[in-house]
């Protein structure tokens, strides 16, 4: 696929400028599907716990491409394109379930749980009439099988031939900080999805933007869940596409926000029963109250106090993105901790006190730049680099995303 590089030139300033056409160019969108999502990247598909038994399956996505993730009778995990070799119909029509084999409803072609075609209805016809010629090789059109790697209870998949080994792709900081959260066998709590009215990249930029978190989300700031003055840090992987933003739960009671007169530090605002929402325990024993971790292109692992979730960013068109949330605890949780997770879940999701704004903010940009394809956004907080740093008054992780993006896209 050819991107019109003569028409589309990245601004000469580099990573500190992002041209607005990246959110509305159809050719670019199609090229992303091929070069990023179906290219040499690892996409998070589901939690290991979403395949609880042998012969279970879960529908997922590799970018726009529908995928089925399965656990076979021996417990091994596989993933393959959710497309019949015959006429391209979806094979799996349920979100999750159990099955010994996958049968296409259209013409009853059959696949085993690795995605290998095992049966074609009336292949030799009936009574010597009809059927498929013997030189037809439908196996050559079989659904594409992904390479799978499970890490700390997270199942990743790739179609790329040159995708680096997963732990290398994640980088040492991410390996450590993923293991930190996924400290025990996962128990699912539930999920939902949120339709974001924007290009997928605007949502991912929002997650990587540690500068906005306590400015847009007043709930965070007022209750000192996360202020930029709280001790914490920002880590960006070598390639740029993976980031971790974290902060310590203990507040230093600074007054920088109030002194700056920021909207999000309205001191008159108080909750009647904040403990019913915010009471938490330091279950990880390291004082980190908040950790947001992303893996390029579209994976988010979230720890907000005891509220743990994974989010899958699924592109659904140029200006539409589905954000699939799955919340979890651990099989070792006692009733008290299980209850805290459910209460703190009020903070997240489409109705979350601290996350409801994110979907809308990405949409505000999508609508705001509708006539500005020749304009650029400014990504210069914290300088021009993509290195890890202590300050979260920085857009280093956003620049890191674009560094990795441009690498994959050849832009």
């Amino acid at each position: 696929m050819n991107i019109h590089t003569t028409r589309r030139q990245w601004p000469a300033e580099g990573l500190i400028r992002v041209p607005y056409w990246v959110y509305s160019d159809r050719d670019l969108y199609d090229a992303e599907q091929e070069r990023i999502f179906r290219g040499d990247t690892w996409t998070f598909l589901c939690l290991d716990a979403e395949l609880p038994t042998p012969c279970s399956f879960r529908a997922s996505n590799l970018g726009e491409m529908p995928v089925v993730v399965t656990r076979d009778a021996n417990g091994a995990i596989h993933a393959f394109e959710n497309r019949c070799a015959h006429r391209g119909s979806l094979l799996c029509l349920k979100e999750r379930g159990e099955a010994r084999e996958i049968v296409c409803v259209y013409h009853n072609w059959t696949y085993d749980l690795t995605g290998t075609l095992t049966g074609i209805a009336f292949r030799r016809g009936i009574a010597g009439k009809g059927g498929m010629p013997s030189d037809c090789k439908p196996e050559e059109h079989a659904p594409r099988q992904l390479r799978i790697k499970s890490f700390a209870g997270l199942v990743f998949g790739t179609l790329g031939h040159n995708t680096p080994p997963l732990e290398q792709y994640l980088g040492p900081d991410h390996v450590r900080h993923i293991r930190r959260v996924l400290r025990a066998p996962v128990r699912l709590i539930g999920g939902y999805s949120q339709i974001i009215p924007s290009n997928w990249k605007l949502y991912i930029e929002n997650v990587k933007d540690s500068y906005h978190a306590s400015l847009l989300h007043m709930f965070f700031t007022t209750f000192r869940l996360n202020r930029l003055s709280q001790k914490g840090g920002l880590m960006v992987s070598e390639a740029g596409g993976n980031h971790i933003s974290y902060s310590m739960a203990q507040d230093i009671a600074g007054r920088e926000y109030e002194q700056a007169g920021l909207r999000s530090a309205n001191e008159g605002y108080a909750l009647e029963v904040p403990d019913m929402l915010l009471k938490s325990v330091d279950e990880f024993g390291d004082g980190i109250g908040l950790q947001i971790l992303t893996v390029f292109p579209g994976f988010v692992l979230q720890q907000i106090r005891n509220c743990l979730a994974v989010r899958r960013v699924v592109p659904r068109g140029l200006d539409k993105t589905e954000l699939v949330w799955t919340c979890f605890g651990f099989t070792t949780d006692d009733d008290t901790l299980a209850e805290l997770r459910l209460r703190q879940a009020n903070l997240i999701g489409p109705a979350g006190f601290i996350s409801m704004e994110d979907g809308a903010a990405a949409g505000f940009v999508q609508r705001g730049v509708a006539g500005a394809n020749n304009e650029v956004s400014l990504v210069e907080m914290g300088g021009s680099g993509t290195a890890s740093e202590e300050s979260r008054v920085s857009e280093a992780a956003v620049r890191g995303f674009w560094k990795n993006y441009r690498h994959h896209m050849g832009l």
Binding site: L188, G190, Y192, P197
Partner: protein
């Protein structure tokens, strides 16, 4: 007796929905008992036996906190709802209240003029009909038919 239950719960839900649609959110918690429970979940979570909610409150004070947050803290574009409710189906009459299920659809009207079908689902209610303050919800579980929410869910359902 049955028809009286239907009529009284239909009336309670009609006033409840009208209060939300009229943007009188400050009056919304008063439809609940002091220790009333309110949550929003999806049919998918219910079918899987999973306890997660989008909103989870276990007291009227928590509902007041949500209204305070919506008025003072959270940022969202101007929008209104229009609820259309079905007839309550009385599931059981118990010591702790009458259990009823009421289907609803909610249209969302944005400040830009865009109107969309925002949510469908049912209220799984437990109603105390003859408390000191009249009929109140001891529990209201909003079970959404779909797992998808467009953009955000700010105003309660």
């Amino acid at each position: 007796m049955y028809i009286e239950h239907v009529a009284r719960i239909a009336d309670l839900n009609a006033r409840y929905a009208d209060t939300i649609d009229a943007d009188q959110l400050e009056a919304w918690p008063d439809f609940f008992l002091d220790d009333g429970r309110y949550r929003i979940t999806t049919a998918e979570n219910v079918a899987q036996g999973l306890p997660l909610s989008m909103i989870f409150a276990t007291s009227r004070a928590m509902l007041r906190d949500r209204v305070t947050a919506l008025r003072e803290a959270n940022v969202y574009e101007g929008q209104r709802y229009r609820h259309v409710l079905g007839t309550p189906l009385i599931a059981a009459v118990e010591a702790g209240g009458v259990r009823a299920r009421t289907g609803f659809i909610v249209a969302r009207v944005m400040r830009t003029g865009e109107t969309m079908l925002f949510a469908t689902g049912c209220y799984e209610d437990r109603v105390v009909l003859d408390g000191p303050d009249g009929a109140r919800f001891a529990e209201k579980v909003v079970v959404l038919d779909s797992r998808q929410i467009d953009t955000l869910l700010a105003i309660p359902l």
